[in-house]
Amino acid sequence: MVPPPTIAQQLAAKQREISVAEFFERNRQILGFDNPQRSLLTTVKEAADNSLDGCEEAGILPEVLVQISKEGEDRLRVAVEDNGPGILRREIPNVFARLLYGSRFHSNRQARGQQGIGISAAVLYANLTTARPAKIVSKVEEEEAAHVLELFLDTQKNQPRVASEDVMLWDRPHGTRIELVLRARYVRGRQSPYEYLRGTAIVNPHARIVLVEPDGTRVTFERATTDLPPPAKETLPHPYGLELGELGYFLKGTKRPTLLEFLSKDLQGVSARAARDVLAQSELPPGRTPASVQGEDQERLLRALHAVSLLSPSADCLSPIGALLIKRGLRNVLGEVRPDFFAPPVSRAPKVRGGFPFMVEVGVVYGGGLPADQPVQILRFANRVPLLFQQGACAITNAISSLDWRRYGLEQKGGSGIPSGPALILVHVASTKIPFTSEAKEAIAEDPEIDRELTLALQVAARHLRTHLSRRTRRDLAGAKFEIILKILPKLAEKTSHLVGKPVPDLTPVVTRIMDVVHLEATPVADPQGVRVPVHVVNYTPRARVLELFVEVPPEAMPGAAFDPAPDGTDPALGRVWWTLPKLPPSGRTQLELRFPPQTDLEASDLDWYVAGIDEAHLLGADPLPGDWDVRLPRTIVEAAEAAAAESGGTGTGEEEVDYDAAESSASASEDD
C-alpha cells in the first residue's frame, strides 16, 4: 500500500518550470501585448528602438523604415528595416528569438532598451498569434551577402528555432530587417505607431524615419541634423546606486587581485583615499581577494561605501538631446502646425539620485495650428523613447500639473492640473536608471529629486512663454494702432472732409498722438546671399527722440555677422551689439541691417532688442535695456531717458473719461426693443 502523499510532496509535484509561453501569457500587459492595437505599437517600438540603438552604437546616421501592411482580417505584416551595423549570423537567433538575451543589461549607460525582452517578445507574440516565423535579414559590412533567417521561439525551452535559412544579395552595405506577421490592428491618432515615430523623430533629429501605413500613405520624418548625438559612454557603477546583490556580483566577477584595487578601479567615484576610508570603516584588509568577501563582510562593505563621501557619479553616460536639437526636432516635426513660438529649450545640468545620474530637458511650443481650447499636448520621453501610456500616473505630468500656469499665460482651472491652450510641452528625462512605475516602462515614478529638476526646468521654459505672450499682447495692441492710423484714420479724414467740403488735413500730428510709441520691427529674411535682418525704427511720438539701440544675437551667430551701419559697440562673447541712433523727429524713421552667412538658423525670436532713452510704455517691438547689461550710456541718452521717465510720470492728462464703446452701455439694455 502506498502512503498518501504528504503536503510537501503534493506541492513538489505541482512545481515545475514555467514555459516562456506561460510567462508571456501571464505578463502580456506589462510586456505591452494586451490588445491588438497595443501589440502593434509595442512591436514597432521595440524594433525601431533596436534600430536606433544599433545605429548610434556604430556611429551611423539612422535610416529607419517601418512598413505596415494588411495580411488578412485581423493580421498585419510589420517590417522594420535599418541601415545599422547588422548582426553577426551566430547572434541573430538569440537576439531575436530568446527572451532575456541582450548586450545592454549589464552596462551602465543610457540606452533605449535594457532588459532584452522587447524584440523577442514581439517575435513570440507573432509566433503565438499567427504561427508564422519572424523573418530576419541582416548584413554586416565585412560580409558579401545578407543572411536570411526564419525564426520561431521555442516556448518550452526559451530557445530560438531556425525554420529556414538562406543568404541573399542585398543592396545595403549593412543593415537589418525584421518582418513579423501578427494579430494586430492599425489606428492613427493617440498611442499609435504614427504618434510613436513622430515623437521619436522629435527627440532623434539625427534620424530619418519613414512610415508606410496599411493604406499606402507614406509619412517621412526627415532628419533635421546630420550630427550624431555624442555616444553615451559606458561608465563604471557608482557605489551610491549599488545594491547588495550587485556588489556581490561585481566582487565575484572582478579580475582585480585585491579589494583595494577593486574599490578604486572597478567602481566610479572612489579615489584611492576614499577606498582606504571605506576599508577602514568596514574593517576589511586592503589586500583581501574580492571574491572572498561574502555575507556579513559584504554588507559592511556596502554600508561603508554608502557612508563615505565619494565623488558624484559622472554624467558622461547620459545622452541628452540638447537645447539646439530639441528646437530643431520640434520645428522639423511640428512644421505643419506652424507654431508662432518655440521657447528656447531648457537642458538642465545633470544631477544624481541614488547612484545614477539623470537630467531633465524641456521644450515648449506655442500657437499656430495647435488647438487653443484643449488641454496642452504633453510629449513625454525617457531616454529618447516616447512614453505614450499612463500619462496620468507619470511624474512628468504631475510636475506639469502642479505648476500654476496661469502665471505664465496659459489657462488652468484653479491653478493646478493640465493647463489648456495652444501649447505643447516636451519633457525628456535621461538617466542610466529611470525609475519607472512598472516594468512596462510607460510612466516615470514620483521621485523628489527628479520632481525638483522637472519643476525648475518647466519654470524656466514657462517664463520664456510668458515673455513671449506679453510681447505678443503688446504687438496686438500695436497691430490695432496701426490699423487705426493706416486704415481708419485716412478714411475718417476723407469722409469728414467730403461732408464739409474742405481739404483733407495733414494727419501726422494725430498719428503720433494716437501711436505715441517708438516702433521697432526686425524680421529675418533668408536668401541665397545669406540671412538679412532689416531693422526699422520709427518715432511715432509727438517729440524728437535720441535713442540707443541694443541687440542680443545668439553668440554662436556672431562670427560672420555684419552690421550696417557699423555699431558703436559690440561684445562678441555675449552676442551684444549697440548703436546710438540719429535723432528722430516725430514721424522720423531710420533703418539698420544685420547680415548673417547663408543657412544661419535665425528667427525673429532669437534676437532680443532693447532701447534706452525712452520709457517702456512708449516702446514697441523692443524692451527697455535690462539693468544687468551694465553699459555706460552716452550723456545724451541718459538725459533722454530721464526726460522720458519724467514724461511718463506725468502723462495722466486728466482727460480720462469713460470709454463709451467699452462701457457696458447699450449692451445691458438688451431687454428693450
Partner: protein, 380 residues
C-alpha cells in the same frame, strides 16, 4: 430735446407738444462731421462725447414724469480701435443719409445693415450694431431716426376697438378707418410712422386703452367682445413693444386723454415691458418724453394675482431670478410698490402666463379677472 417730423410738413392746428418741423433736419449730422474735421485739422485725436445709455445713468424727470438720460458722459475716441471704427461708421452713415435725402429715398434698418457691406472695415457686424449707432446719432443730433430717413420694417402691432382714425396711405390718399368696424379680425395694423402727418385721431367712444402682451389674449378679449362691453381699445404689444406702439400709446393718452393699463404675463420680463411703456426704455431714454406714457398703469398679472387667483405657475428659472435682482437695482423700479412686487415674486419663486387664467374657463378673464382688477384701479 428730440425733434421729429419727416421733411414734408403736415398742417395741424391742434395744440402741439411737438416741435416745429425743420427743413434742414440733417444739418446736425454735417455739424458733427465739421467738428471731427477740425479736430483732425488741429492735430487732435478725433473724439466725440455722448451721454451713457446705461441703467446707472437714468434720471427721473419730475416735470415730464419720465426717466431720461442723466449727465454721465462717455468718450468715443479714435485712440482705440473700437472707437475709431465707430467714428468711421458714423460718417459713412451720415454720408448715406445725406445721400438718401438728396435722392428722396428712405431705407429700412435692415437695408442699412446690408448697405454697410460696401463700407469695408466699417461695415456692421450685426443689426444690433447698426441700430445702436443710429440711436447714438439720434442722441448727438437731437433728431429721430425717421429724420434720418431710416425706419424699421412694418411690424403691424394691432389695434382693436372703437377708434376712428385717418391715415394717409403710401399713395398720399387719406383713408378714414374705424378700428372696430372697418377692420378684419386682425384689427388695425399700426404703421411704423404714427406721427400726425400719417395718422390723425378722429373720434372714439372708448373710456380706456388696454395694452396686452400676447396675441392670444388679444384674440380672447376680442372674441369675448370685451372692447364693446367695456368701451376699451385693445392694443397688442407683441412682447417688447416697438417704438411706434409706444408712440401710439403716448399720443392716445395725450390727445384723447384716455388712461392706459398694461396687461402682461406675470414674470420679470413683463415688468420690463411695462417699464418701457410707462417709464421709457434704457436704450431710448433720449426719447422718453416722446415715447413713454408715464400715466400707464400696470394691471397684472402681478405676483399676488398668482396667489390670489391660484393660477397655474412655473418655477422661476435662474435667469428669471437674475432678471428680478437686476430690476431691484434699476431706478425705474425704485418705488416701494415695485420693490414689494419684485420681492414677492422672488419670495414665492413663481411666474405665470396671462393665458393661465383660462384655468377657470374662457370667459373668466373678461367676466371676472379684468373687471375686478379695473375696479380696483378705478379704470373703465
Amino acid at each position: 430735446m428730440p425733434r421729429s417730423r419727416a421733411p414734408a410738413p403736415a398742417k395741424t392746428t391742434e395744440t402741439d407738444v411737438e416741435p416745429e418741423v425743420r427743413a434742414d433736419a440733417l444739418q446736425p449730422t454735417l455739424d458733427l462731421a465739421g467738428e471731427i474735421w477740425s479736430q483732425l485739422d488741429h492735430g487732435e485725436v478725433p473724439h466725440m462725447r455722448l451721454p451713457l445709455r446705461t441703467k446707472q445713468n437714468l434720471e427721473f424727470r419730475m416735470r415730464e414724469g419720465v426717466w431720461k438720460l442723466g449727465r454721465q458722459m462717455g468718450t468715443r475716441s479714435a485712440r482705440k480701435l473700437d472707437g475709431a471704427l465707430m467714428l468711421l461708421r458714423t460718417f459713412y452713415l451720415v454720408d448715406f443719409i445725406n445721400e438718401m435725402s438728396r435722392d428722396r429715398k428712405t431705407s429700412t434698418l435692415r437695408e442699412l445693415y446690408y448697405i454697410s457691406e460696401a463700407w469695408q472695415e466699417a461695415k456692421f457686424h450685426s443689426e444690433d450694431e447698426s441700430n445702436l449707432l443710429i440711436e447714438d446719432l439720434e442722441v448727438m443730433c437731437e433728431r429721430l431716426r425717421e429724420d434720418f430717413r431710416l425706419h424699421p420694417e412694418e411690424n403691424g402691432a394691432s389695434v382693436i376697438g372703437d377708434l376712428t382714425i385717418q391715415e394717409r396711405n403710401r399713395k398720399g390718399v387719406v383713408k378714414t378707418i374705424n378700428c372696430r368696424d372697418d377692420v378684419g379680425d386682425g384689427g388695425y395694423s399700426l404703421p411704423f410712422n404714427v406721427e400726425k402727418e400719417k395718422i390723425q385721431f378722429v373720434k372714439t367712444s372708448a373710456k380706456f386703452v388696454i395694452a396686452i402682451e400676447c396675441g392670444g389674449m388679444v384674440d380672447r378679449l376680442a372674441e369675448n367682445g370685451f372692447d364693446e362691453q367695456h368701451d376699451a381699445i385693445l392694443v397688442h404689444l407683441k412682447g417688447q413693444p416697438a417704438r411706434s406702439t409706444r408712440r401710439f400709446l403716448r399720443r392716445v393718452t395725450d390727445e384723447l386723454k384716455l388712461p392706459v393699463v398694461v396687461f402682461t404675463d406675470g414674470d420679470p420680463w413683463s415688468f420690463r415691458i411695462y417699464a418701457s411703456v410707462a417709464y421709457g426704455a434704457i436704450k431710448t431714454a433720449h426719447l422718453s418724453n416722446y415715447l413713454a406714457t408715464p400715466s400707464a398703469e400696470f394691471l397684472g398679472v402681478t405676483a399676488s394675482d398668482i396667489e390670489n387667483y391660484d393660477l397655474p405657475s412655473d418655477h422661476l428659472s435662474e435667469q428669471d431670478v437674475r432678471a428680478l435682482q437686476a430690476e431691484l437695482t434699476d431706478p425705474r423700479f425704485g418705488t416701494a410698490e415695485w420693490r414689494a412686487e419684485i420681492e414677492l415674486m422672488l419670495k414665492n419663486g413663481k411666474k405665470a402666463e396671462q393665458q393661465s387664467l383660462a384655468k377657470y374657463g374662457l370667459n373668466y378673464v373678461t367676466e371676472h379677472y379684468l373687471p375686478e382688477k379695473l375696479a380696483e384701479m378705478g379704470v373703465g
